[in-house]
């Protein structure tokens, strides 16, 4: 990381692990979990959030001195909504099937708490470059969890990754299925997303006891 100072690098790296938006800050769970049944949808969602957060943080950071603090929420909402409309229109134009799968959840990026949270906590008080790095870092931390969940749900649920049959063909009984392996269709149902996140939190906190909550 030659171009980035140590402090700037930390902005990107921290949210990936010990300050992860989903598992530690508990932000942005809303619009994410329902679309993680397939890896592809998770990746697209992660990239969309990355774009919206990076751009949004820069815009808000540039305007931070002229936004009256009383109406800042609505200014933030307008900025995010505009960026999300761009993402939504691009998806509808170039990946129509996928935009059907994501349905309302693209729109729900607007109320994704990570975005508002980072605007409030970071972009309103820092310059554009640091804000951009912070946005990218947090979106990457969010996307990382999304991809992990999508990976396990698609692999265990339908035996595929990105639509490719990695475990063999369940109907022709090749690969793993020849030994009597069955897909766990339960993984495709929405409740399992919550349980997978619970397990990720469990693993993460067992590895780093400093994160364990009181109570």
């Amino acid at each position: 990381m030659g171009i980035l100072s140590k402090k700037d690098a930390a902005l990107i790296l921290d949210p990936l692990a010990d300050n992860n938006p989903i598992t530690i800050q508990v932000l942005g769970i809303c619009s994410a979990l329902a679309i993680t049944a397939e890896l592809e949808a998770s990746i697209v969602m992660a990239v969309s959030v990355l774009f919206v957060m990076g751009m949004g943080n820069v815009v808000i950071s540039l305007m931070r001195n002229i936004i009256p603090s009383k109406i800042r929420i609505i200014v933030q909402l307008v900025v995010v909504a505009t960026l999300v409309i761009v993402v939504d229109q691009v998806l509808k134009a170039f990946a129509y099937e996928l935009s059907k799968t994501l349905s309302v959840f693209v729109g729900l990026i607007i109320t994704n708490c990570i975005i508002m949270g980072r605007f409030e906590a970071f972009a309103l008080a820092n310059g554009p470059k640091r804000s951009f790095l912070d946005g990218i870092g947090n979106a990457a931390g969010y996307g990382f969890i999304l991809v992990v969940i999508g990976f396990f749900r698609e692999l265990l649920g339908s035996g595929t990754l990105l639509g490719i049959k990695v475990l063999g063909d369940p109907i022709e009984k090749t690969g793993l299925y020849a030994f009597g392996y069955e897909n766990n269709g339960f993984m495709l149902l929405s409740p399992m997303a919550l349980i997978v996140v619970g397990i990720i939190i469990w693993v993460q906190r067992s590895r780093n006891p400093a994160l364990i909550e009181e109570n």
Partner: protein
């Protein structure tokens, strides 16, 4: 009348905002430590959803959807402004929340004291915007149904946060493994509750009959070609036979399930 009742129960139990679509998860996790605060936030969500969903329905119907501007004159009938729906919906929600806050503060200080602090939080609650977006994508027909949808989705959210808050108050006395304490166990409990709520899915099966029937029609020809009876669904047979039979197995299983 019947469709109102159906929509009401469907939105509360089957399409529950928290358990089926994960909407409003952030506040659901953050404000569910005590039952009293959970009730306050839940009531505010019911209220705001019941107000904003019908309002956004009107916007969608007379401003946004394809051909919605026809009431202005025939030359406007070609406009489709639906790409603006995100920004208009969120603006409506933010202003309504602000308005409700001012009105409630003026006329009912006691209600304001119990609800007031939650109202600003709600503007960015995904459940509220989600309610409006689902209203749009599920193509709700009348203003009455839109109001019903907002109200019942709110009630569903209220029930969910009330239930998790009650469980979290109790679980404080349990010996949860250390890394799972707090957030982790809440996720897993919510997952289990969502599995429980899935059992409501069988409550209304009216709309689901069409799909399996189509499959039956599609299966019939392959059966004739391979000349097999219903006994042919046995697993061993499908393994040694050729492609046509293998294709048939899942379909005929569907037949038997019916």
């Amino acid at each position: 009348m019947l469709e109102h009742i159906e929509l009401f129960f469907k939105s509360i139990f089957i399409d529950n905002m928290v358990f089926a679509t994960f909407l409003g998860m952030c506040s659901y996790l953050a404000v569910s430590k005590k039952v009293t605060t959970a009730v306050g936030l839940g009531a505010a969500v019911i209220f705001v959803l019941a107000v904003t969903v019908p309002l956004n329905w009107l916007l969608d119907q007379y401003l946004l959807r394809d051909g919605a501007l026809a009431w202005l004159g025939p030359e406007y009938a070609d406009y489709n402004l639906s790409f603006l729906s995100f920004i208009l919906f969120i603006a409506t929600i933010a202003t309504m929340v602000q308005l409700v806050e001012i009105v409630v503060e003026k006329f009912s200080p006691s209600l304001y004291n119990s609800l007031g602090i939650f109202l600003p939080l709600i503007a960015v609650n995904c459940a509220i915007l989600g309610g409006s977006l689902f209203m749009q994508s599920r193509d709700i027909q009348t203003l009455g149904l839109a109001f019903n949808y907002g109200l019942s989705s709110g009630i569903g959210w209220f029930l969910a946060i009330l239930a998790i808050a009650a469980i979290r108050e109790k679980i404080r006395y349990s010996n949860v493994p250390a890394p799972l304490r707090g957030l982790g166990i809440t996720f897993i409990i919510t997952g289990l509750m969502a599995i429980g709520f899935m059992s409501f899915g069988g409550m209304l099966t009216g709309g689901d009959e069409a799909a399996p029937q189509e499959e039956v029609v599609a299966v019939a020809p392959t059966q004739e070609v391979s000349g097999l009876t219903a006994d042919a669904t046995q697993q061993d047979l499908t393994q040694k036979e050729n492609g046509t039979v293998q294709e048939e197995t899942p379909a005929t299983n569907n037949l038997i399930n019916e």
